[in-house]
């Protein structure tokens, strides 16, 4: 059947050589190469469910009295954005299913990107000639985070509305331009004329998805051009790729994974409640709820804002507002390090040659330790962002946590670095499972100079 399809394409385009070459493309088999695919298929689910949601959502802050079925709000003036979200949730069959699946997909999308990124960093896949792809990946991560924030801020509910107010303060806090940047985006001082809603909508529904789709296409093309990296193993060299061909094995596997990703997201979308905006109520500048949190992928930022000491210096006659440090400087440094990683790695390892074979984390102890230390530095603010919940659940005072975490923010990455370094070196020197799938024998040299198999190794 595939032959007939390929012939049909060839008759019409004369490109059968290209198609056959594509179908013969070999993918490495290791499961960690599927992490990027999980992200990709989450994106597919996001687009599909997103299109459905866009058919019902009204991106307007004009107010009318709510007439729907949710009793506690009946008669209250709410924006069109909020009303249309509630109507979609309660009056459109499968509307709530689609909304929740969309939201779960966003959470999983970014989680999968991070798992994929961790694999890239720990195995050295970003090394030459793949630095551009690494930069594209980093750009996609930052866009995905922005996209998610814009998306859950659309319904104009109390939870996301408070987050938007904070975002305004962060925009305002950028030195030199902050005074203009905030009102620029909101068209006036917060809350502005209301046009922020349609701007977020345009960003979320059109601009960022298009950019993401383009970057994904380039990302995949570059992988295909350079071919995948692979772990070392029998028969695997820097000059080949060993694995499974696209057709039929890998294509079926990938389609299967796509279906499973969609299935898991739909199961969550139907069974586990997420973002119940009717319970939060509509946003009101003068109201606030305790325990308000952004979605998980922004948790590092709320934590950073909470951990910063109360400094708001006036330098050379201009104020540097406090949210700048946690909301702008910290993520800028984090992303800066991320983007610079291939070049920093090159500087430290003095290795400029191209690599297509991946290293096991233990075989690059300094890199692995640095990755884990950097990850720790980003993860500590996540904990700070959840400190109030930790206080309630585990009875550790909030002020105490702030003090401890401020110290941990500096100390823990260093400690993790040192521990990881030692563990990697020990694993490496102990000779455990020297090569993937390798079943030879480890020899050691005796004092007399002869070789003998080391006891206990396969």
């Amino acid at each position: 059947m595939i032959d007939r399809l390929v012939d049909a394409v060839d008759e019409r385009t004369g490109r059968s050589r290209l198609v056959r070459k594509a179908l013969r493309y070999v993918f490495p088999d290791h499961w960690s190469f599927l992490l990027g695919e999980i992200a990709l298929y989450s994106f597919v689910v996001l687009v599909a469910t997103g299109i459905y949601l866009a058919l019902f959502f009204e991106p307007s802050l004009t107010r009318h009295a709510y007439q729907g079925s949710y009793t506690p709000l009946q008669g209250r003036e709410v924006s069109e954005a909020y009303r249309s979200t509630l109507d979609l949730s309660f009056h459109v069959k499968a509307g709530l299913l689609m909304r929740q699946t969309h939201h779960w997909a966003a959470l999983v999308f970014i989680a999968a990107i991070l798992c994929h990124l961790l694999r890239i960093l720990l195995t050295g896949a970003f090394r030459r000639p793949r630095e551009p792809n690494h930069l594209i990946g980093g750009a996609m991560l930052s866009l995905a985070i922005l996209e998610g924030f814009a998306g859950y801020s659309l319904p104009d509910d109390l939870l996301s509305g408070m987050g938007l107010a904070i975002a305004y303060s962060v925009a305002l806090s950028v030195p030199v331009v902050g005074e203009r940047l905030g009102p620029l985006l909101w068209s006036g001082e917060y809350p502005g004329s209301g046009v922020i809603e349609s701007r977020l909508y345009l960003l979320h529904v059109l601009i960022i998805p298009l950019i993401l789709a383009g970057l994904i296409a380039i990302h995949l093309m570059m992988i295909a051009l350079l071919k995948h990296t692979q772990f070392a193993g029998p028969g695997r060299t820097e000059r080949n790729v060993v694995g499974t061909r696209l057709w039929p094995g890998y294509a079926l596997r990938s389609l299967g994974l796509m279906a499973v990703v969609a299935g898991v997201l739909l199961l969550l979308g139907g069974l586990v409640q997420i973002n119940p905006v009717w319970q939060y109520g509509p946003y009101d500048v003068a109201a606030a709820s305790n325990g308000v949190q952004p979605d998980w992928y922004m948790g590092w930022l709320i934590g950073a804002l909470r951990l910063m000491p109360a400094v708001e210096p006036t330098v050379l006659g201009v104020t540097v507002p406090n949210p700048f440090f946690g909301g702008v400087l910290f993520p800028a440094v984090a992303f800066g390090v991320l983007f610079a990683w291939p070049f920093l790695d090159r500087m430290v390892s003095r290795d400029r040659s191209p690599h297509h074979l991946l290293e096991r984390p233990r075989d690059a102890p300094v890199r692995t330790a640095a990755v884990l230390g950097f990850a720790t530095w980003v993860i500590v603010p996540f904990l700070a962002g959840a400190s109030d919940r930790i206080f309630v659940s585990f009875d550790v005072g909030y002020e105490l946590q702030v003090t401890v975490m401020r110290v941990a923010w500096v100390v823990a990455p260093a400690v993790v670095f040192l521990i990881a370094l030692r563990v990697c070196r020990r694993l490496r020197s102990s000779g455990e499972r020297p090569l993937r799938g390798w079943d030879g024998t480890v020899l050691e040299r005796s004092e007399s100079g002869g070789f003998r198999p080391r006891a206990g190794r396969e």
Binding site: P72, C115, R253, Q273, S289, G291
Partner: protein
């Protein structure tokens, strides 16, 4: 005919008088029993005459049945040590003993237990009031939270009477709202909103994860979704040969 009505009237009157006397007699007995209980269990912190002990417990003169009933029925009192935050727990006294202690404290003066009827309240007004006045501490769904220096309790176990008592009293670090600021209808509405939201929340979306929002949602995304997908990925990828 007339004689029968008269007899009925007289018996009703006698019955009323008798029950009033019983109540009055019971009232006094309760107060006395309450005083004894107080001396046994409360005076170490609040003083033998409820006038307080320095650095231990405040005076209870004038706090009234309102405060006593709230603190005792929610198990906040007795407090294990003077500077702890009072926390809801199983009451240390039986319902009858609580009534007696309350009667004793009431006899020292102060506000009575407030009346409240959620069924007379309005859900819309209750929600709006709660969102503006209460949600900052208690969280919009009544799940509780944190204020600098203390935790804020969840409201899922609060009875309408306890809600009304807390609103009027302002226990521990909570502000208080008198009848001039929140009238009876507003109090009924808040009690309605709180009891409905905490007992019968609209969880059309499925498992509510404690109504705590993005933190448990993020944990589910990582532990359940990514966990399952990582298992499937391992299954799909390189097989252990």
């Amino acid at each position: 005919m007339l004689r029968r009505s008269l007899a009925a009237l007289v018996s009703v009157a006698l019955l009323a008088a008798a029950s009033a006397a019983t109540v009055h007699a019971a009232g006094q007995a309760d107060i006395d029993r309450g005083r004894t209980l107080f001396a046994e269990r409360c005076s170490s912190c609040h003083g033998a005459d409820a006038m307080g002990v320095q650095h231990q417990g405040p005076s209870l003169i004038g706090v009234g049945a309102l405060a006593a009933d709230f603190e005792l029925s929610t198990g906040r009192m007795p407090l294990a040590a003077p500077n702890l935050q009072p926390i809801r727990s199983d009451p240390s006294f039986s319902g009858a003993d609580i009534r007696r202690l309350v009667a004793y404290i009431a006899s020292l003066g102060g506000p009575a237990i407030p009346s409240v009827d959620p069924s007379r309240g309005s859900m819309l007004e209750g929600r709006d009031l709660f969102a503006l006045q209460c949600a900052g501490c208690h969280q919009i769904s009544g799940a509780g939270g944190v204020v600098t220096g203390a935790t804020v309790p969840a409201l899922d176990q609060a009875t309408p009477t306890q809600i009304a008592e807390a609103v009027r009293l302002g226990p521990y670090l909570m502000p208080r709202f008198g009848p001039e600021q929140l009238d009876q209808h507003q109090l009924d509405s808040i009690a309605l909103y709180v009891t409905q939201t905490t007992r019968h929340p609209d969880d059309a979306g499925g498992l509510p994860l404690g109504h705590l929002g993005p933190i448990p949602e993020g944990m589910v995304a990582w532990l359940v979704a990514m966990g399952a997908l990582l298992v499937v990925a391992r299954m799909t990828g390189e097989r252990a040969s």
